[in-house]
Structure formats: structure tokens, C-alpha cells
Subunit: 309 residues, 2 copies
Amino acid sequence: MTDVSVHEVGTRDGLQSISTFVPTEVKKSWCRAEFHAGVREIEVCSLVPLKLIPQFSDAGEVVRHALALEGLTVAALVPNLKGAEKAAELGVHKINYVISVSESHNRANVRRSTEESAADFERIVALCRSRPKEARPVVVGGLATALGCTMEGKVPEDRVRRLAVRLAEAGADEIILADTVGYGDPAMVRRLFGAVTRDLGAVPITAHFHDTRGLGLANVLAALDAGIRAFDASLAGLGGCPYAPGASGNISTEDLVFMLESMGLKTGVNLEKLLAVRRTVCAALGDQPFHGAIAKAGLPKGFTVATSA
Amino acid sequence: MTDVSVHEVGTRDGLQSISTFVPTEVKKSWCRAEFHAGVREIEVCSLVPLKLIPQFSDAGEVVRHALALEGLTVAALVPNLKGAEKAAELGVHKINYVISVSESHNRANVRRSTEESAADFERIVALCRSRPKEARPVVVGGLATALGCTMEGKVPEDRVRRLAVRLAEAGADEIILADTVGYGDPAMVRRLFGAVTRDLGAVPITAHFHDTRGLGLANVLAALDAGIRAFDASLAGLGGCPYAPGASGNISTEDLVFMLESMGLKTGVNLEKLLAVRRTVCAALGDQPFHGAIAKAGLPKGFTVATSA
């Protein structure tokens, strides 16, 4: 049993920021190797129109490969009903649908209002519920820019809470609160995650933090204090922000696992194996902005590596 | 009034890791500019034998310059009684004496046992108390490797607590607990800083964190939770660990101020001015490993910059 779930999103959030096509074999072996290192949930692709992100043109093959790894939860990000239909056809276990809380960000991202996106979510839930029980994916309502927006600045907490409740009432099995642009701070995180946790009751919440401004792991600590036990992260911190060259993207999976395991929280992830995956993936991806501290500094003397889940 | 004190140590911890001599004018203008950005305590030099660290051969001139900045607390690090005598002669406001909790680290660092170093501290306290009241420096007992040691691995919490109490009983006005090698994690930090705070009662404690393994700011958050309100930090995260090339050193002052101010904690530091100091200092220091996220990513839209103290 683990105390905290670590979800790999580098295969989606990281790869979508790489403009050259990454070979399918690299994607497949990345998923496989992380699974063997103990990671039990991977967002393996984004099901967006291929003309927007050709990187995921091999999504079908990657999903099929990941589905063969027994015990792995295979997730796909979808921006709309069409993506959800494709995800359901492919047989993913989990559909991560994303709405930006900030109206401007949502329009820039998917060219419609937050309200239209929320209405679309209801159709996605209906789609999933129409499927036979054994082939019904978990539906996740993700809220991007939940801690701030590069276009609108501060995002009102009330708006985030209302949208989270709306998605839960529409039938979300889980909620993701995402600090898409790295604006969150620990005080804000404790407040917001605490409030949404109280609002939603039993609906599980995942925290998705970017380390753009260096506060990623401090925000993880704050979210842990608020009772959050599931975190998205990206191997080598892949997924830089296009508006800030040199700035890092997602929190790095290795550093997240290092912090959690150091604190005595079981993740089921074997950090030495995970660091080996990082080396292989970085070598395969070539010249990209890789982040993360533990890979550079090495594990502390006396650190106990967990057995893979 | 400020909620949290930010102590700049880049002028000591950062400069001591630069092998080429940094011009005295650069050191002086660094101190001056940070003071004008609102920083109210700077460790301006280390008073070690010059043949060990020639970087601080101009300590006298730098200290005199810093002492002229009214309202600035000028601190110097000293490794022994001789350094303390020099510091007192120069008229610094604060003497930061450092002992490694780990026996092996202390021997490697100052070639004597922790016990001998502790005994030396008593002589330093006596020296300071022998001075006229208006010229009596604050004496600080610093404990290096308080959260782990690259040579010994885990450092027993009891040992840290006993040494902290010993230095306080010997007359330390303040205590510093330092994660010299970046081994600390937030759970350990909460436990240790909580325990030492209870042990010491009214003696103020400063936290000195390195970001070697990426947990620096998460550890700051943990220390804040334990009631700590003073933090050492280094501009641009200067002060890399010699055993881990590419790994960062101290937590970066800019990122620390960004986190604290974002959380609504007043530091008295104007972050825009501080970022300007960073640009000037980095340009003057040339090719060094600079760290820190906020300088790369930029302040969030809507961030309120504090007025300088």
C-alpha cells in the first residue's frame, strides 16, 4: 500500500512541448520503465486534433502498449467531447478533461467559454456512463489556471470552488486542480485545496503543480497538509512554459518522489530505478531543457530506496 | 515591521566558493544595493586564515563599508577564537560561529573535534562579554550538518538538540541550524526545528537551507510552520556544493523573498530591486553557476512588490 499516488504526466505535458516527433518506441519504453519503477498512473497522451499537436499521432499504439501493463492506470488528456470519444474507444482507464478557470485562458486554449467547456463535460460524463460498466472510464474534471493565470493574473478562489463543485455535481469521479503557469504559493494552496476538499467531500483531488517559479515542492507540502494524496509530475521536469524560456515546467517526478519518500510517505516508486528511467529518456529525447535537483546531486548517504510497488 | 527576516549570505557562502578574487568594489556595491533593496542583515565575509580562502583578504574594507549602511546588521562568519577576535576588532554587529554537528565533518572542516569547537565557543562568548557594552557583538552559535552529513549520513536529532542547548547555555544570543549539504526534508525540519525551539525557549533560531536536492523552499515552509522567522539565503543561489557539480547551493534569496511575499509575509525586501541587484552581481561575477527560478520566469501578473524596509 502507498500513502501518496504519483502520476506521471511527462508523457503528455512534457512531450506536447517538444516540437519534433518522439519515436513511438521511446514513448512505449518510457511508460514501461516507469511502470517497472513503481509508478501506477501515467497520462500517456493528449487526444487533441493531430494538426494541433502531431506529437500524439501514435496515441493509439502507445495506449495499447500501456494497457498491457497490468496494474497501471492509463490516462489520456482530452480537450473536448471528440477527444473523450476517442479515449473511450481506445479503452483508457481514465479521461482527464481540462477546463481553464480563467476565461481568457480557456478561450486561448480551446476557443470557447468556460461555461461551454463545463457544458461539454456533462456530455463527456454521459458518454462514459453510456458504456458498459466494465469498459467505463473514470472521468476526471481538471481545472487549469486554478492558482493564477498569465493573462488575468489572480484567479478568484470562489470561481475555482464553484467550478469544482459544478464538475463534481456533473459526475466527475475525481478533480484535478492545476497551477498551470506556476503562480501558486503555499498559503494559497493550503487555502484553496482545503476549501475544495471541504466542498467536495469524498471526491478525490489531484494536485498538478508547475515549478516555473521554484515553489513546486513547497506547494506539494502545502497540499499534503490540506490532505491531498495524489500528485501529477513530469520526469526531468519536462514541459517548460513557452512564455518563459529557461523556466522549468512541471515539478519533476524524481524530486517529488525524493521529497515524499524522505518524509516517510510511501509512493511505491523505487527512486534508483526512476533515476535510471530518467537517464534513458533524457538520452532518447536529446537536447531538451531537463530539470530536477536529485538527479544532479545524487541521493543522500543513508537514503533508503523503496521497493517498487 | 517585517514578519520574516531574510539574511543574505551569498557575500560569504557564495563568494567562498569562487576561486578567483572578486573585486572589493563588487562586494561593497553588492552589500549596498541589497541594503537599498530592503535586506537588513548580511553576512559580509568569513574570517578564516587568508591562506585558506584568499577571497576574504579585503574583509576589513568590506566590513567598514557595510557598517556605514545605517540599519544594516553586519555579520561575519568565524571558524575559531582568532576569527572572532578579528571580527570584534572590525566592529561587526554579529559573529556567526560554526560547529559541525557531525564529528567527521567538523574534523574535515576545522581539524578538531566537535567538543573542542564547543569549548572554543565559550571563549568566544567570554571575549565578546569582555568588550564594552556598546561594542559588544551578538554571538551566534551555528550548527552545520544539522540535518545530515555527506560523510556520516543521518545525524541524530538528539545530538543536534544537545549541542544547541550547550551553545545556548554557553551564552549564544542566537542559534543557526544549517542544512549544509541539502539532506533535510520537510518532515525532519518540522521535527527538529520544533524540538529545538521548545528546548531553547526565547533564543531566536535562524534556518540555513541549501537547495542541493530541490527541497530548500519546502524546508522553509516547514520551518515557518515550526515558528522560525529568520532565514539565510544567497543571491542567485550562489554557493554550490563542491561534491556535486551542477547542483545548486544555498536557497536563492530572490526565490525565498518571492515565496514569503506571495504568502503575505512581509520581508521588507523590494523584489524588483532585489532582482536588479541579482542582474548586476551576476554580470560582475561572470561565469558562475547561478540558480533561482523567479529571475528566469519573471514575477506573476498582479504580484505586489513590497516597499523596501
